[in-house]
Amino acid sequence: MSIKNAAAIVGVGDVELEKGKVKDGQSVLQIQAIAAKRALEDAGLTKDDVDGIFVAGLWGLPGVGSFPSVILSEYLGIQPRYTDSTQIGGSAFEAHVGHAAAAIQAGLCEVALILYGSTQRSEKSRSLAGRPPVLTAQYETPFGLPSPAGSYAMAANRHMHQYGTKPEHLAEIAVATRKWAQLNPQATLRDPLSIDDVLNSPMITDPLHLLDCCLVTDGAGALVIVSAERAKDCRKKPVWVLGQGESHSHWSIQAMPDLTVTSAAQSGKTAFEMAGVTHDEIDVVQIYDSFTITVLLTLESLGFCKPGEGGDFISNQRTAPGGDFPMNTNGGGLSYAHPGMYGIFLLIEAVRQLRGECGERQVKDAKISLVNGTGGTLSSTSVVILGRD
């Protein structure tokens, strides 16, 4: 069973940030409401058209359960007939796209709204501390592993050990991504960046430097996905869901079968087969860049290059503006924004690229885009392949 062409993304919305923070101390509910309204206006639809709601949040009311999807629906005045709060970390939104397309194909809803928001930067709620040492975290937290960076660092060290990958390779990714950010007025960091700048930035957890790590910002995003029938009447041209796959291989990095291969090997295969496209047909890619190593492992796991060849693949600024492999064209989690879970912003950028709305950073004639989300500690992945008519 395939969901190919069953549904299209017709609306996207986000909010402006100032130095990585939302304006005027806005709350996590306010920014999601603004993003939702913008996405619906983008689509030429109203709140009353929405009959499916998809929310994964890190926020919630203190107490039993967190219920972000239910709380947010109440705040927006939406009573859905289809509801999905799949929470698998930063890849949740790519999973939501697949789930929404499947629900639409099954006739369970027609207009799906996917939402995310975070005010983690304003709240100063992030640190490198691990989770409380209960259940499976009792075998991890007592040893002081920086969370989550330390797990990604372990994957990087293993890749370097097995394949001879260098810190310079990882720095290439940060530098190329910054060049895209310099073309995006909404990006948080836009100053020029060199390989040496990355290598000379403070070491956080070997071999990851500060500039190998994503930003910690606020942010909110929204997507509207509708049936093929409803897409005909929308304001913007449809961006079709051609394929989607999802998987998770572990929670703790201790249980990751091979630290150099993510479950994108599976979720990507599913998405490519469903879409019926080849790697060569992808015009622009959006790869989750929680850390530089995340990108390198994902490119290999997706099959853009062979295992161990990721370093060579991204060398010589191949993924930068003007390179032959345009990637993370909004400036990514490394330089644009990273509000805790970033997956929805990869999708928003892919849609804008396929619509030709990206101004200076527009990839010429982009017709097909691959979006990969990664969550947890390389734990979950979901891949979406999008295309325009």
């Binding site: 640190s127 490198l128 002081g144 920086p146 630290l259």
Partner: protein
Amino acid sequence: MAELKKPLPIPDGDSHVFWQGCKENKLLIQKCNDCSKHIFYPRILCPHCFSEKVEWVESTGKGKIYSYTIARRGGGPAFKDDAPYAVALIELDEGVRMFSNIINIDVEKVKCDLPVEVVFEEQEDFILPKFQPIFN
């Protein structure tokens, strides 16, 4: 200023035998009596074949570093004063991996595949399994 306490394991139905083993300087892992595979962390059933015939066995406590990182800032405020320190995934000779710290070594010399052995270290009322290089 009160010293920040490091997080200590909160034992449960899966783990109390493991932590008690550490108190007796034994590194206990599980073995499945149906598929013969070793298991860590401890579980009520085998994640390989779903058998409930899992039993505790004592590990040799020897293995090698599968991967590692050097925490330069510490994993939260309680670990800040210890930085830099090494956190590693140790692959035991039985084939399972576990987190620990590599001690009794210059952290700059920690590397993948380094042979290590368990050494039990007291922390408040707990005994944590740490690992040190095997010196020939």
